[in-house]
């Protein structure tokens, strides 16, 4: 479904993503992990067209999408969330999602957009009431809204940038269960970004690890979590992550 080859992103002299290649098969959940600042969100920005790549190819459903404008990539069937939620505060919750349902599906029709919005909101567990405002949402609610917007665009591939910081343990489990449900019920292929391994390892089919913009490992969760390079990277970062590695291996 997605074939990425030699993806590069430079910011001035700094290379944030360095020759990353990977494939995503239809129906899978691919976990993308790596320490802070390793380039995960940047990869998402390249895939969704928010930033143009410096080099490399991105084939989605057999079609080259590298460097296309974001609205075209979204309409081709890619949906994305932002790590830090970016709701539109001048619109109600419902309008936020209806907007995505309309403009993310080739402006097909208002009815279809509203239907998509209602389904997406129900899916993530937000009220479908037309007037509820964004201001009433907490951190978890804003993440749900972010997800609802992405789903409402009717994606075949969902890029979920879910650094679950700011959520407690049960909220994290809920979020993980949610992604699984989105894949199982809507048949959406998912790339899930995270920097803590624990929760992610339970849900994903495959994991890819990046560090300093380079891919250092890829494989099944248990293989990756016992990979010495991965352990080194995580040992080198923070204690919490180390624990997560240990947990995942158990």
């Amino acid at each position: 479904m997605l074939a990425v080859e030699g993806l590069v992103k430079r910011f001035g002299g700094f290379t944030a993503v360095n020759k990353v290649s990977f494939d995503v098969a239809k129906g899978e959940i691919l976990g993308l992990i790596g320490p802070n600042g390793s380039g995960k969100s940047t990869i998402f920005n390249l895939l969704s067209g928010t930033l143009p790549p410096s080099a490399g190819s991105i084939r989605f459903d057999g079609r080259e999408i590298a460097g296309l404008a974001p609205h075209r990539i979204i309409n081709a069937g890619v949906g994305r969330t932002f790590q830090i939620p970016r709701p539109f505060r001048r619109l109600s919750i419902f309008e936020n999602v209806a907007l995505a349902g309309y403009f993310g599906q080739d402006r097909h029709s208002r009815t279809k957009a509203y239907d998509s919005a209602e389904r997406a909101l129900a899916m993530v567990g937000l009220p479908t009431d037309r007037h509820a405002t964004v201001d009433g949402l907490g951190a978890a609610g804003l993440k749900k809204l972010e997800l609802a917007k992405a789903i409402a665009t009717g994606p075949k591939l969902l890029l979920a940038d879910e650094s679950l910081g700011g959520l407690d343990e049960s909220e994290m489990d809920q979020a993980a269960a949610m992604l699984r449900k989105i894949r199982d019920e809507l048949g959406i292929t998912i790339i899930w970004v995270e920097h803590i391994m624990g929760v992610l390892m339970k849900v994903v089919d495959r994991v890819m690890v990046i560090d300093h913009g380079e891919k250092i490992a890829e494989g099944l969760p248990h293989e990756v979590s016992s990979d010495p390079r991965v352990i080194e990277v995580y040992l080198g970062t923070d204690a919490e992550a180390t624990q997560a590695v240990a947990q995942a291996r158990r």
């Binding site: 404008a69 974001p70 609205h71 539109f88 936020n96 917007k149 665009t153």
Partner: protein, 326 residues
Amino acid sequence: MEGPTTRSMAGWAVGALVLIALPFVWSDPYPLHIMIQILIWSFAYTSWSIMGRFGLVSLGHGGFMGVGAYVTALLWNHLGITPWIGIPVSLVCAGVLALVVAYPCFRFRITGHYFALVTLALSGIVLQVITASRDLTGGSLGFSPKMMPADSIFALQFRDKTTWYLIALAMWAVGLLIWRKVDRSMDRYALEAVSEDEDAAAAVGVNVTVEKLKITVISALMTAFAGALYCQYQLFITPDTVSGISVSLQMVFAAVVGGVYVALGPTVGAVITILLAETLRIGFGTKAVGWDNLIYGVLLVLFIVFLPKGILGSTLDWLRLRRRRG
């Protein structure tokens, strides 16, 4: 989205009837003249706020108005082309001008203050071009469309103020309808989103550049139309009354004072500005020339800081709050 209740429908119908009947009951030329001015300028301010409400603050609308007025009048005087064709041609010119200025701005993400500055240059340039093409336009002395010996539909010239009042009223009503149409469209959601966060809007599929261009062109066409009709009514225009930075600022001021988020806000703004200008003119005569611009400037800053929703917007908010409490 509230559907029209019978009561509000009846309210609108009565309002429309009163406005239509007005010149037949009360036909003093002076108040009628003021009413016509208010209606034409209301339409122009509504045109501005159709994009201004989305944070697209243009200081170039004087330019569009000038193009509408001068292109129509020049075609008539120099080529004998009826305004019925001249006005559409002038609209096309204004639309092209809007695209030429706005496309690079939007493509390269020139927003906020920078957008305002680029459009400010547009006002200045149109004014300069009109003033400098003295042989064609009469320069700063002004320009009069050639008068027909009698009223003429072909030349769109009427001596009778009642006719003009009805034309201006229709135009104003159409302006409100366009405002409402935009307000209820999905494009409004897109533009609200774009005004907050362009990347996030693009990430839900909005073609940011196209959405901004569409609303800019609609706004420019409407403004040019206001210019053309203003010229047909006054039968005399100068570069300073229909173009230039002061006209642009006047639009911003009136729209902001009345309120850009409500349909009738710009109309309230027109009533206030025109009555203010008239009062100064009658009360202080030529001594007060330019005072209105000074007062606008000061009030504009005060409004942006203390009453960003404008007079009508804030009043409606206040009434709504009271009704909920009471």
